[in-house]
Amino acid sequence: MARAATDVPQTPQRAGFGRRVATALIRRREASILLVLVGLVVYFSLRTDAFFGTDNARVIAEFSAPIAIIAAGQVMLLICGEIDLSVGMVYAFSSWIFYFGVTDWGLPIWLAVIVGLLSGSAVGLVNGIITVGVGVPSFITTLGMAYVLNGLTLNISGAFPVETPGGETFFRIFGGSPYTTVYWALGVIVVMTILLTRTRWGLHTVATGGNLLGASESGVNIRKVKIGNFVLCSTLGALAGILESVRIDTIQALQGGFPVMFYAVAAAVIGGTSLFGGSGTIIGAALGVGVLAVLNLGFTLQGISAYTFDLVLGIAIIASMALNVTLERIRQSGRLGSSA
């Protein structure tokens, strides 16, 4: 096995199976997180009778959908070296803008959806301009924005929940029927994966996070990339919020918030996205969301309290990041094959 340590970064053809699996797991972070996900599903299906009921699958999927949508946007931002802590507040804020669009401004329902989404985009634009233009770290910009939006939402809503407006067709398409939010989430995952891996925008996002100075020396418009990804992330936050409002047929000021945002960040990290920027995948984050959802439901079925869930979630985040950093060191040291 010593020959794997040569200077040629290609997997030796005759390497043993175990080594090839290890290499694959290290090369492709998604493979290892998928393994964890499958392991959890097997574990809970053995330990609880109800785990494989169709209702459970739906609960898991629908719990995951909005988080996966937000995580997709958050991954883009994390890759280009920024973070959005306000996206969970956009989730609630844009839902209310959508609501007022229909009830107060008399907009047709689809136009109200678009206005709701645009309100999310606008928040992202402000986040981006303050972060990139003024130079406030995004952690601070978006933390402030989170509180601003929360206060604003509580004010305009009067803090009372309302019924989500919209006719039957709208509900069927936009989150009301079983699994519709999941279909939307899958669509977002596919589109965002293509954007990240197959377009110049995705490549420039990676370059911006991977070598900020180098990217700008190469003529990459790093400001545009960062601001664009702030807008993208916030818009996806608005989409997730409105879809979820339709699904549960209620809009309330305190929906989403920090928990949804932190779940999305946690899922991204568990899925292999680096908080230092420069690497990450949408699929990994989606699998990370799956892990969180399965843990959540499995514990609920086992009668384990939400406190324990938080305990495990916390450990999972730290362990994932520790693993991530370690794997990166192994890869950099050149002991195993590069990612192809």
């Binding site: 200077d7 290609q10 110049r200 070598n211 020396e217 890869r331 590069s338």
Partner: protein
């Protein structure tokens, strides 16, 4: 890409023959005068070595020629035409490309994506354009082959490459991007002797066998005399010497630089 017409030196005066010509450029940052009345020129296909101590103004000059900084006063001519360099992208569109000291490579990206960073080959319609990875891989291999550079794998991340390989990748990227004028900012910095020798060879080859004009910034006079046709010495923001490399020697260059440190004591 490579079909782009060379800027034609039409209806121009004495400067027409120069690939790049700088006339009386000054630049200061606050109270620091980085460049003072600097003039230089590079003829097509020529390799000009730019030497000088730290703080002599070499990097500032490169950054001006790249469009990163704007000069306070002075003129820049590219193939005889006066230009105001607005940005890196603008300079590049005029055929001026730079291999920066940090090489502007993204460690976490593959060799071929780095080679095509910000000049990606795409296909598709309107806003729906997608990366043609296959084409970029193929061309990257050709480009590296052209200048005789071998890397372990075109798919590998640049993080896995040695200093020399990175430098070669950065140079190959520039020479194959319509660059008519190539600025190399300390291409031998942080490199082992063997790798350094390969890069010197590469630059010599390019100087002889292509019509690319180059400005090479370096510290080591031996290397400069080896690689370059002509050498300019920059000190305290001024050009102190302009000679063909076959008309000067390491001793002369050393003497001129050393004189600066001796003068105050003897005077």
């Amino acid at each position: 890409m490579s079909e782009r017409a060379t800027p034609q030196p039409e209806q121009t005066a004495v400067t027409a023959a120069d690939a790049i010509r700088v006339e009386s450029i000054s630049k200061s940052f606050g109270v620091v005068q980085a460049l003072e009345d600097v003039s230089l020129h590079v003829r097509p296909g020529e390799v000009l070595g730019l030497i000088g101590d730290n703080g002599a103004g070499k990097s500032t000059l490169v950054k001006i020629l790249t469009g990163f900084h704007k000069p306070d006063v002075g003129k820049i001519f590219v193939f005889g035409e006066e230009v105001q360099l607005k940005s890196v992208t603008h300079a590049r569109s005029l055929g001026i490309d730079t291999v920066f000291q940090d090489l502007a490579l993204v460690p976490g990206m593959t060799v071929y994506h780095n080679m095509f960073l910000n000049r990606e080959v795409t296909r598709g319609i309107g806003p729906f354009r997608f990366l043609s990875n296959r084409v970029m891989k193929k061309r990257s291999l050709e480009y590296l082959d052209d200048i005789g550079v071998r890397v372990p794998s075109i798919d590998a991340e640049v993080a896995r490459m040695s200093g020399g390989q990175r430098q070669a990748i950065a140079i190959a990227r520039s020479t194959h991007s319509d660059a008519k004028i190539l600025l190399l900012d300390e291409p031998l910095a942080a490199m082992g002797a063997r790798e350094g020798a390969l890069i010197i060879e590469l630059i010599e080859e390019l100087g002889k066998n292509s019509d690319v004009s180059m400005i090479v910034i370096a510290h080591n006079y031996v290397h400069v005399l080896e690689m370059c046709d002509r050498v300019n010495l920059l000190r305290n923001g001024r050009i102190m010497l302009d000679k063909r490399t076959d008309e000067t020697s390491v001793e002369e260059l050393t003497e001129i630089v050393a004189a600066e440190y001796r003068l105050p004591k003897t005077a």
